[in-house]
């Protein structure tokens, strides 16, 4: 199975949070879901900072003078 995309991870994370907030989760399920949510969060955050890093690097490499707004 291929690595889930950022969007997929984000969607799953948001579903988990919604379920937890609704509170209709079995007690045993609660911990498992929470751990899963934290893992998804970590993955999303890594992907995001990776993308940000690449944009910054590309901008530097292109000698991007800070664009005038």
């Amino acid at each position: 199975m291929s690595e889930p995309t950022f969007e997929e991870s984000q969607t799953e994370l948001e579903r988990i949070v919604e379920r937890l907030e609704r509170g209709d989760v079995e007690l045993e399920e609660l911990t498992r879901l929470w751990e899963r949510g934290e893992e998804l969060y970590r993955r999303c955050a890594e992907q995001l900072s990776g993308a940000q890093g690449r944009i910054e690097e590309l901008a530097r490499r292109l000698g991007s003078e800070p664009s005038a707004e």
């Binding site: 950022f6 984000q10 994370l13 948001e14 988990i16 949070v17 937890l20 907030e21 509170g23 989760v25 007690l27 609660l30 911990t31 929470w34 949510g37 934290e38 969060y41 999303c44 955050a45 995001l48 993308a51 940000q52 944009i55 901008a59 292109l62 991007s64 664009s67 005038a68 707004e69």
Partner: protein, 377 residues
Amino acid sequence: MKVEASEVEGRKVFSVRAFNQGISSWLERLPTVWVEGEVTELRRQERWASVFFTLKDPESGACLAVQMKRGLFDGLRLALVNGERIHVYGRPELYEQRGEFHLRALTIERYGLGEHLAALERLKEKLAGEGLFAAEHKRPLPRFPRLIGLVTGNDAAAKRDVLTAITTRFPPAQVLVAETFVQGARAAPAIATAVGDLCERGVDVLIVARGGGSFEDLLPFSDERLVRAVASCPVPVVSAVGHEQDMPLLDLVADVRASTPSVAGRLVVPDLAELRGSLDRARAALDRGARRACERYADRLGATHERLRRAPLLALERRQARLDGVHGRLLALSPRSTLDRGYAIVRAADGLVRVPPRAGTELGIDVAGGSFGAVTR
């Protein structure tokens, strides 16, 4: 005009001037007519007000001097040469000073022009009927042509105009030039072949250019073979033939019609300077856009994470509250709360005491603080 004669030695005598005036005014009353003949001795000079030629009867050799205002003559753009057969519309006129008679031409048409025009009109109707000129067949020009094809005569002007316009606007443009006959009987098939050749060599847009010329000069650009070649050309074609008012069939079948070769050149390439500017703007916008998108994602993820952090505690608290509620209700049902309010439970050996027992009965009594025994009296 009344011409005066004088009496000399008993006869009526006219002066030369008066005679010529009289003839002139008489000639002026003659109607305007068409005269057919061959052009000979054509004389035209920039500093002359009129153009002169002699119209010759091909059968008898009879001659007629013709004059035409130079502006009028140039306006016809006939490019007349000696020996051509024409129709001249005009009226007789006398050059009084010299007593020379000539035809004052108002317009000139080539012999057989009407037939040419009618044939052209029929061809136009036929090709239009096949949908060759239909607007829905017009293709847009490529924004960034990789290779531009130019079909033109080897005369400098049209070619130079197109190339100058292209390289001024877009210096890196690549142009493949095919020089062909652009007038005469060989022109139409030659141009059609050049169009096909350039397409095979991978051009992605084509210009067919020719400077102005006479009606006959531009006839090849209305040739059915050329029109069909352009109609089936796999890449868009720009026509730049003749002047604004000429409308060869090539103009109708081409995807875009340019009024001049220069305009055609400007049409097929983008303006490099403008392009650079818009590219820079696009890159700056891309940069900002990418950063903003990242920020938005980060914000959303942060908020979701915050909710995730709170969610289990929230869920546990809700459970605790529910548990507390149930517990409270359970407590309310227990007898203990009744004892707390000062009631007591009295038991005898045979169970709860609900009626006064006999004296001397041993009782067990529960109160809120504990239990104790008692004996009835």
